[in-house]
């Protein structure tokens, strides 16, 4: 119980964080309570709901299924990295316009799942979008307005691309 603390150094949204933590500390708890970035949410802590999704070296991971010490030296992106000041990221803007969120609890995990998805697949079909979303549970929306938001975001991102 009184496990020896370990030092973890990670970069979150471009900022480096160095903390002494218990080895059992979940990465999700590190991000939320040590780094103070509470935009990443926790819905199940057993790897099903996807609310805790962040990007680790650019790839989506469930931060509730990792210990913070396992992320040593890694670069992490959270939902707080998406907007540029007050200017929303196209994904965020699309969710706002299509009513892709209600309570917004699942939303950060969904946005972080979609960012690399749309980068890899700029013109997804509806089936591909639903497949991409299938690891994220949302209890409020029934997903339809989320799917519409993804389609809109894809179009916005394509229009932006050089």
């Amino acid at each position: 119980m009184d496990a020896a603390r370990r030092t973890v150094r990670v970069t979150v949204n471009g900022e480096s964080h160095e903390k002494e933590v218990e080895p059992r500390l979940l990465l999700s708890d590190f991000i939320r309570h040590e780094a103070g970035l509470t935009g990443t949410h926790v819905g199940c802590e057993h790897g099903v709901c996807g609310a805790c999704t962040v990007l680790l070296e650019g790839a989506p991971v469930r931060s509730c299924l990792m210990f913070a010490v396992q992320a040593e030296g890694a670069s992490i992106e959270t939902v707080e990295s998406l907007a540029d000041g007050d200017a929303l990221h196209p994904l965020q803007e699309a969710f706002r316009r299509e009513h892709g969120l209600q309570c917004g609890y699942c939303t950060p995990g969904i946005l972080m799942t979609l960012k690399p998805f749309l980068a890899a697949n700029p013109e997804p079909t509806e089936a591909e979008i639903r497949q991409a979303l299938s690891g994220n549970l949302c209890r409020c929306t029934g997903y339809q307005q989320i799917v519409a938001a993804v389609r809109r975001a894809a179009a916005m991102l394509r229009a932006e691309a050089p």
Binding site: A83, H99, Y105, R139, T141
Partner: protein
């Protein structure tokens, strides 16, 4: 001209914070010196204990307190009974901590407060309780029988409440019937499972002897009353705030859960802020459940398919206590005739204690159950009489020319249930056309020859919305020109801030950006009941309109003095009052607010400020209504079901914000589909829950929920000035019946009848093979 905002698909003001990670949910609250709590929960469905040994737990460095029932004193008195019922025999409410006897797996036994949640959970493992397990009553049907093990030893039976609700002459209905359907229908146990579980944070201010409680409740004002009572404090010394809440759907209102007393109690005792956050596995047992009922019905019909009467005797699983009263059973009873003109209805329920978690409303509160019974009965009578499912409905609907049609049934809040302001036959025809129902029927014979099992299901719903007693809203124009809107009821994602701002901005002719909305804080507006039963838009929305209209009248009065013009010659736009046709002759609302709060004299009899509060008192349920239609294809080899089409015809009266309305319908329908095919809570004979993770409780993903087509029929509600009916539950109520109806239609060649949900592939295969479902 004032800009029309009511009815516009305005983008939500809530979203920017939520999208950027700047929202503040309960677990995002961090206070200096804050401690963390964890709850020791009973591992037994029924046991006695005499000793809770916390010695080892307290010895753990960083553990500040372990509370058991003995430490609580009067704070551990039983919780209040929220909804009484004349049929109560043995109302029994839970306490914050079990006093020597536990009655379900998950019941709170002790609270640990420590430096971190991790440490608090370590300490839970060190607490020793000398449980002596006893035989529990788990199965609902068995628990209702004489001689069953008692959940509460001081009673002589597990029946908590027995209530009869009757209208019309039921004997005559059966005497005149050409055909009687008899069957048992059983919606299974499920749960709301919002993505955010519950949580409470409390801070005690020693200087002021006051408490601030952040609580994921759907009813902060009402929760404040219960917490103040339990803690022996004046309500005035207690502020309850619902922060951003990650979904509610009913489970976040109980008045109150154990932790809503324990956490403030610990914060006051220790003089430090305390946080408790429920994890998901806890939520599966520590928060309430819903849905399980067993209905035994008899339906009397004429040979041409007119329903003469329904007799329903049903069992309602109350769980181990009944703090909410048998409200789900009452709503199921009230909703039984649906939109149909059924001359006689006789229903009787027994609310039964079992050694399982407490049952309270989940979205729809018993209406999905009553709906399932009636709609499946419609299908089954139709099949027996050789009628189409659409035709039997057509023959029984209440028509506009029959309205107002008093069902003689009493709904939640003691309100009459009277049909008006809807056109059910038109809804049916719209659904049939949208679904291409005739096309499905035409295709079936050939498809069946090829082994394709496609079927269509229909389910009507009527939903009691906007229930009593009231909500209130205060509207106040600041001297800055901003308009402050405050109400007591909170949001869990419904976008109330956006819709309230639409109503107030339009009424006062100000830009929506100038409207500041605050809700769900007892320190901002301390009157109100809460967000449930699809009531916020109806009751709160009309209170906002009333308050804004009063402010408008006052502003016109003040401006008419200022501008020396008659009030009728004035209009409001762009944050000012101006003379019609002469926009330069204007005075801003900001200036009027300033003038209404003078620094020299305030005229006798007048009140300071440009402000008003209004309360919308509801005395009658606004009935929202509609039809769901589904087309499914069943794979006879695997028992899997593909939903090809899903159509919702929906009438919630005037839509304040159609995009938000769509969101409510889509989300509710998805929950209904989840309940129809995926989600089920199970227990073993010892009362151990077998489903405590999302690996076992299958919330549908984007792959399972089909695209849903919505057709709005916007018929104005005559009961309130906005003309709205509620929209929160129409998605969920008929979804199970529509889905199950489509499945049994697809499997009609096998003589399939669905009598329970959720269906699952084994149940479907059993129907195909002509066995009774496992």
């Amino acid at each position: 001209m004032t800009t029309r905002l009511i009815g516009a698909p305005v983008a939500r003001r809530e979203d920017a914070r939520l999208l950027t990670g700047r929202a503040r949910f309960i677990d995002d609250i961090a206070l200096p010196g804050m401690l963390h709590a964890a709850v020791l929960r009973s591992p037994h469905a029924k046991a006695r204990f005499t000793r809770v040994d916390a010695g080892a737990a307290l010895a753990l460095p960083g553990v500040h307190a372990v509370l058991t029932h003995e430490d609580l004193g009067p704070a551990n008195a039983p919780m209040p009974l929220l909804n009484d019922n004349p049929g109560f025999i043995h109302p029994r409410m839970h306490r914050a901590l079990a006093p020597g006897q536990v009655r379900f797996v998950g019941e709170a036994v002790a609270l640990v407060v420590a430096d971190s949640r991790y440490l608090a959970e370590d300490a839970l493992d060190l607490i020793e309780v000398d449980y002596a397990p006893e035989t529990p009553a788990v199965d609902l049907v068995a628990a209702a029988e004489e001689g069953a093990p008692l959940v509460h030893d001081d009673t002589d039976s597990n029946v908590a409440c027995r209530t009869v609700d009757a209208s019309g002459d039921i004997e005559r209905a059966f005497a005149e019937a050409d055909f009687v359907l008899r069957e048992e229908l059983r919606p299974e146990r499920g749960a709301a499972q919002p993505m955010e579980a519950r949580g409470v944070v409390a801070r005690y201010d020693q200087s002021l002897a006051s408490l601030t409680v952040w609580d994921t409740t759907q009813a902060p004002v009402s929760a404040r009353g219960v917490i103040a009572d339990k803690l022996g404090m004046p309500e005035a010394a207690l502020t309850v705030i619902a922060p951003d809440v990650g979904g509610g759907f009913g489970v976040k209102i109980m008045l109150v859960y154990a932790e809503e007393v324990l956490v403030p109690f610990a914060a006051r005792l220790l003089g430090r802020p305390v946080k408790w956050i429920e994890d998901r596995r806890e939520h599966f047992v520590g928060s309430n459940h819903e849905r399980l009922m067993v209905h035994r019905i008899e339906v009397a019909a004429t040979g041409d398919g007119r329903i003469l009467g329904i007799r329903d005797r049903f069992l309602y699983d109350s769980g181990a206590y009944c703090p909410y009263g048998p409200i789900n059973a009452e709503c199921a009873q009230a909703i039984l005739p649906g939109p149909y003109m059924i001359p006689a209805v006789h229903s009787e329920f027994l609310a039964v204690y079992t050694n399982t978690p407490i049952v309270s409303p989940y979205r729809g509160a018993g209406q999905p159950h009553g709906n399932f019974v009636t709609e499946m009965a419609m299908n089954h009578v139709a099949r027996a009489l050789g009628l189409d499912a659409a035709e039997i409905r057509r023959r029984n609907l209440v028509r506009p020319e029959d309205c107002p049609w008093d069902t003689e049934r009493i709904f939640q809040g003691n309100t009459p249930f009277i049909h008006r302001d809807s056109d059910y036959p038109a809804q049916l025809e719209t659904a049939l056309e949208a679904l291409d129902y005739a096309g499905v029927r035409r295709g079936q014979p050939a498809e069946r020859e090829q082994g394709i099992h496609r079927g269509a299901g229909l389910a009507f719903f009527v939903e009691g919305t906007g229930i009593p007693p009231y909500e209130g809203v205060e509207v106040r124009v600041e001297p800055t020109g901003h308009v402050h809107v405050a109400t007591g009821y909170p949001s869990q994602g419904q976008g109330h801030h956006t819709t309230l701002a639409q109503i107030v901005a339009e009424t006062l002719g100000v830009a929506p950006e100038m409207v500041v909305v605050e809700s769900g804080r007892s320190d901002r507006f301390a009157w109100g009941v809460g967000t449930f039963a699809s009531r916020a838009a109806v009751v709160g929305g009309n209170a906002a309109l009333g308050a804004a209209n009063a402010v408008r009248a006052r502003a016109l009065e003040l401006a008419s003095e200022e501008l020396e013009a008659a009030a009728e010659d004035l209009e409001m736009a762009n944050g000012a009052v101006h003379v019609k046709g002469a926009p330069q002759m204007a005075v801003t609302l900001a200036a009027l607010a300033q003038a209404a709060n003078p620094i020299n004299t305030l005229a006798a009899g007048s009140e300071p400020g440009l402000r008003a509060a209004d309360y919308f008192r509801s005395s009658d349920v606004a009935i929202a209504s509609g039809v769901h239609g589904a087309v499914v294809v069943v794979d006879a080899a695997t028992g899997m079901v593909e939903i090809e089409r899903y159509v919702v015809v929906h009438d919630c009266g005037v839509m304040i914000n159609p995009t938000i309305v769509d969101g409510q319908i889509l989300g509710g329908t998805a929950q209904g589909i989840g309940g129809a095919f995926y989600e089920k809570l199970r227990f073993d004979e010892a009362g151990q829950p077998l489903v405590t993770t999302f690996m076992d409780y299958l919330i549908p993903t984007a792959m399972e929920i089909p695209p849903i087509e919505i057709h709005h029929m916007e018929s104005r509600c005559s009961l309130n000035p906005l003309g709205v009916k509620g929209v929160g539950e129409g998605g969920v109520i008929p979804a199970a019946a529509a889905f199950c109806g489509a499945v049994e239609d697809a499997l009609a060649p096998f003589g399939a009848r669905v009598r329970a949900h959720p269906l699952d592939p084994p149940a479907i295969l059993a129907m195909i093979e002509g066995r009774t479902a496992p």
